[in-house]
């Protein structure tokens, strides 16, 4: 019995440890992706609900800044242009921001045009101005100051340029904006922030949280987490079935003791509980050992950087491991619950075994 129980204990411990380490690795990667996403995506995007841009007279910026939890508010001017250099031209999404100097193209936008920092390109707006010859497109010539690496989370490649230049390109006037980018103190509370902003500004604006702007990526991250959890939890399921076999052996070898308990006045339910607890205890011990092993391994792998990665590809020198207490709690709770569930069947069989049969056999 000792060896059988030890095998079940080890199986469960290794399964739980594998699950904890896998989830820590996934959480590490996802935290990295999320922090990059939050650095480059406004936590809240405020755009007009109807037609037409915002203007200073709307006092949107001031109202936004007064909302609790808001750290910064910047007006932006967004639109589509043709970027041309020589005979090459390509459409591009551009956004004007206050602190941008020159034109910063996304690598994906620069590649088809073959442009590099230092080149001068022409932006042709879809908006027109009236001239003596009739309407002509608004044009701007800008020097490329930098190329931005294509980001993980961005919906589409976009170029940045100074806000005033964008206002001119899109004929927004000197104080117009197509929206405001809002950064919050706690981006994980973006939904609550959106509700507070909606309360402050009323129905004249449309609000998009960073999660909504990157819906596909956020959903993919969640799905990835669920799929990995389900796949690795199969190990725990199998280890748990091993525990069921252990409990069955226990019930068979200790049938005499179950009979003695019945003789001493234990009800069938009590006998069942005793055997379930015995199997469950092996499960709890295995789970606890697995949690300790998994957490210790994750911390060591993170601290010592034992899984190296090509830095230029991933933006980090080693695989990140981040132990999320909630993940560990869920793993431990499910593993222990499963151990008790699988121990129930043999425990029930032990309780239903007539005491006299075991006494005659003893």
């Amino acid at each position: 019995m000792g060896v059988v129980a030890l095998a079940a204990f080890c199986g469960l411990a290794l399964g739980v440890a594998a699950l904890v380490v896998s989830l820590a690795l996934l959480a590490g990667f996802q935290t990295h992706v999320r922090s990059r996403l939050l650095a480059e995506t406004p936590h809240l995007l405020v755009t007009p609900a109807g037609r037409g841009p915002f203007h200073d007279a709307d006092r949107i910026g001031g109202k936004l800044a007064a909302v609790p939890g808001v750290v910064s508010v910047s007006p932006v001017a967004r639109g589509r242009v043709w970027v041309s250099m020589g005979r090459d031209a390509a459409p591009a999404e551009v956004v004007g921001r206050e602190r941008t100097k020159g034109l910063v193209l996304d690598v994906a936008q620069a590649r088809p045009l073959g442009v590099v920092p230092g080149d001068t390109v022409t932006l042709v707006s879809s908006r027109a101005r009236l001239s003596p010859l009739g309407p002509v497109p608004i044009v701007s010539t800008l020097r490329i100051t930098a190329l931005a690496p294509s980001s993980t989370g961005r919906r589409a490649a976009e170029a940045s340029l100074p806000l005033d230049e964008a206002r001119r390109l899109f004929a927004l006037g000197s104080d117009g904006a197509t929206g405001y980018e809002v950064f919050l103190k706690d981006p994980s509370k973006a939904k609550a922030g959106a509700a507070a902003v909606a309360a402050a500004l009323g129905p004249s604006v449309t609000l998009t949280t960073w999660e909504e702007q990157n819906r596909a990526l956020v959903l993919a991250l969640r799905l990835e987490r669920f799929v990995l959890f389900a796949a690795v939890f199969l190990i725990v399921i199998v280890a748990g079935l091993n525990l069921a076999a252990t409990s069955a052996v226990l019930a068979a070898t200790r049938a005499g003791d179950a009979a003695v308990l019945s003789v001493l006045g234990a009800s069938p339910r009590t006998v069942e509980n005793v055997f379930r607890a015995a199997g469950g205890c092996v499960g709890m011990a295995g789970t606890l050992a697995g949690v300790l092993l998994g957490v210790a391994a994750s911390i060591l792998l993170e601290r010592l950087g034992l899984v190296p990665l090509p830095a230029q590809l991933y933006g980090m020198s080693h695989a990140p491991f981040r132990v999320d207490p909630l993940d560990v709690g869920v793993v431990a709770a499910l593993s222990i619950l499963w151990a008790f569930v699988v121990a129930t069947v043999p425990a029930r069989a032990a309780a239903r075994q007539p005491a006299v049969e075991a006494l005659r056999g003893a």
Partner: protein, 240 residues
Amino acid sequence: MAPEAAALLVAEGLAKGFGAGDARVEVFRGVSLAVAAGDLLAITGPSGCGKSTLLHLFAGLDAPDAGRVALDGADWATLAPAPRAAVRGASVGFVFQFHHLLPELTAEENVALPLFLAGRPEQGSRREAREVLDRVGLLGRAAAFPRTLSGGERQRVAIARAVVRRPRLLLCDEPTGSLDAAHAAQVFELLAEVAKERAGAAIVVTHDPEWARRCATIKLLGEEGLSDVVGTALPVSPRG
């Protein structure tokens, strides 16, 4: 025969057999008896004549093929498993031929086990267990595990466990069968004393002629130790 109204245990027309069809073996039939509080009864007979089976029927652990067993007026057959277990725990003590102590528990915990199962508080249960262990002369071995006890000591612990809840009926299945003559005599004396002090009545299955001499005796007669056993006993107060 003790009048049924005053009887602690009443068995009427008990029959029991095992197997089915041609392979069926009838162990006994027509066994009737009544045991009153204070009775000390020995059941003797050849091996296989159904002595242990009879004890199992008395304890409500098995059901007879015919007849009925009632303890304090309650027919075992009318009780559902959980209340039957509760009645058994409260009213019946059982001593086996082989002690059947739980190896993971100390002597004190083994003795306290029926109290734990009854939901009594731990400290009080342990105190009571030590009192009974003291009575059987094993207080000094309270913390010992069964594997470190001698055969006689184990059986004394088992007796202490059987009487710790002061059962109305003490059933003993060859309690000295695994002991040598000297230890058997000691355990026998102890059992008789403890049964008188802490139990309402006692029924002992035994091959020991000394037991049979000192108790009211019912003898199950077996033809080649098997079927056609008919016994009707009218137990009286112990002679010993």
